[in-house]
Symmetry: C2
Subunit: 386 residues, 2 copies
């Protein structure tokens, strides 16, 4: 096991009917900015619940934060924060609204000239404006971590940011929100959380026995609930386990003491920036080819995964590893997600070299848990996914 | 899954050689009270490492906190805190030193007349004096939770306390400390952590699929490392997984969203108060008889445990449940822990009724996850363990 530090101060309030608890978690004298996305919260009743809970606060609103939260739009929200002297942010939405709010939390306290530097110059946020979240879409884990991904259309960039100042003060996770999520988004959430676990687990063994088993627990739970929740999103047992699994997949716990990969995400972000493919689907496109390309360095963990998660008991380590990859791809198919780039765009030729070029441009020339994957390797991995 | 709230702000610093990081975690102007136990830290080099790390701080010391931290001794430490105007506590030791420090953290900020009231009147601690820990004995999980158990010899009482103000600010977990722990104490740590998981898991199913699997992960890891660490406590892989498993067993995570039992602990505390039997061994004495007595209400989880943790695939639910109990008792035996009260004391006759009497006296008349176990049930459970 590698040495590690772990601290996660976010307060989780989990369960049906808990949105009304918001009021007790926000300072009484706060001036709140309520942030949300395209307005689905106005159709499913969550907006009303939040507004009722906030009735004793001074509240401003900023809606319209899009999927892949866009820098230019967030800069408009930043103006509202400054103009209205906001002191507390409340994100109500999925990962995009939460990530956008994290950028605003950081930017509101940033003393430099250009908030874009937070992303472009990788400035870690030690202290942000306090914020809470009401999660409406289980997927990214943003509700209990300190990272965010922000997109800038102008430059086709999708960059990560983070720091210990960006944990939500609280997050409310009411699994009944799942019933109003479109099937496509539920599938995306399942694929996103599943791949989050894989990125932290599918590397090489370092004797982190407990972390491995907890990672496998999350994968097993997602596999168990996936068909149930897709068939019936009102199934509370499935919805609650889906929601808590998504949070646990990326709250920092399972990455502690182990090497992590994240190459799938780095390449996937570029696919989204290029073609607008849903984030989770870019991960599903790349996972199989990434593991196939890196079979030699990952086969011990792939075989362990095939054995413990999928019950594959027969065959050599390499054979089991390959079955593990097949099972992963089949899982994505089982939740209705296609895994070939050509199934998403006709313009896929040349994508490998374009992604290699973009990774090089960003200095991402040493990806993966060993830091040995070059842009040229990324090119081949993407090509395997055509 | 039941509704829950979860917040754990303790910073964990895990790994070999990390004790030197203490200095960066304590406020520069702090006046520190270093608390420890019987002095083993002076033999194994930990005291020196801590003192070196604290060289730039003003430090007072208080040694001699015994196993089952004794109220009368802690009251002496409280005098030192007040006299020397201490502002930060540093516990270096096992669960007893950590628990004693939690009592002091609370008592130092307590404004009532009699600090005993914190225990006797179950006053929750909302704010305590800040404290950190350096763990020298993996077992209780005290390093990452907000609970403590304090003993008062005068009245043969062993009472619990806690509250959100009692999380350590930081805890340093260096698995190399395990090499200097006597075998008896390692076995105690394994049994303690194992039973902590069981108390939060062995109830009835509520559809908390992920929590169940994470609990099973900790049990499986403890089972895997137990023989290795007992044979060779210098085995870092086993020691680090043992240590992290003990922390994860009682840091609040696996109890969220599920019913919990804790009857074994309530009865076990009385056995320690009566006969001075090591805490962990009281749990091992009672676990088998508790589960046998409550087979009917716990058989679904017992059977699931037998299947997933011990690989028992054959037989009816009840048969598998019974094998699960046998496997548990055999596990305690495998780590050298006896499981009959008569193996610890010749004066065991009448213990059942005495424990029933004491539980009644404390108002503990509704134990277990259903709140249906009376002192009369406890009497029978203890008698089954003779």
């Amino acid at each position: 096991m590698k040495n590690f530090e772990f601290k996660n101060p976010t307060k989780i309030i989990f369960g049906k009917g808990e949105i009304q608890k918001i009021a007790a978690e926000i300072p009484a004298d706060a001036k709140v900015l309520l942030l949300y996305g395209g307005g689905s919260i106005k159709k499913n009743g969550i907006y009303e619940q939040v507004k009722t809970a906030l009735k004793d606060f001074e509240v401003e609103e900023f809606g319209g934060i899009p999927a892949n939260p866009e820098y230019a739009i967030l800069m408009q929200a930043l103006e509202v924060i400054k103009e209205k002297e906001i002191t507390f942010l409340l994100a109500v939405g999925g990962g995009s609204v939460l990530d956008g709010t994290k950028f605003l939390s950081s930017a509101a306290e940033y003393t430099g000239d250009n908030p874009w530097d937070i992303l472009d110059k990788k400035i870690r946020t030690l202290k942000g404006m306090p914020f809470g979240t009401v999660l409406t879409l289980p997927a990214t884990g943003s509700e209990m971590n300190s990272g965010a991904v922000i997109t800038r259309a102008e430059t086709k960039q999708k960059l990560v940011m983070g720091g210990p100042g960006l944990f939500p003060v609280f997050s409310i996770l009411d699994p009944t929100v799942v019933r109003s999520i479109p099937e496509r988004q539920i599938a995306n959430g399942l694929a996103d959380a599943f791949t989050h676990v894989l990125e932290q687990y599918m590397t090489y063994p370092v004797g982190a026995l407990l972390q491995d088993r907890i990672a496998e627990s999350i994968l097993q739970t997602l596999i168990e609930v996936a068909p149930v929740i897709l068939k019936d999103p009102t199934d509370y047992k499935a919805a609650s386990n889906f929601m808590w699994s998504c949070t646990m997949a990326l709250n920092g716990l399972i990455q502690k003491g182990v090497p992590t990969d994240w190459a799938i995400h780095m390449m996937g972000h570029e696919l989204t920036a290029l073609y607008g493919i849903d984030h989770a689907r870019t991960l599903a496109i790349l996972a199989g080819s990434h593991y196939t390309y890196n079979l030699e360095t990952k086969k011990e963990k792939l075989a362990q995964y095939a054995n413990r998660v999928w019950g594959v008991r027969e065959g050599s380590m390499e054979e089991r590893a390959k079955i593990g990859i097949e099972k992963t791809v089949a899982f994505f198919h089982s939740i209705g997600i296609k895994t070939k780039l050509s199934e998403y765009t006709k313009d896929y030729q040349g994508t490998g070299s374009e992604i290699a070029r973009r990774l090089t441009e960003r200095g991402m020339i040493a990806l993966g848990e060993h830091g040995t994957l070059t842009p040229s390797d990324a090119e081949k991995i993407v090509e395997l996914a055509y």
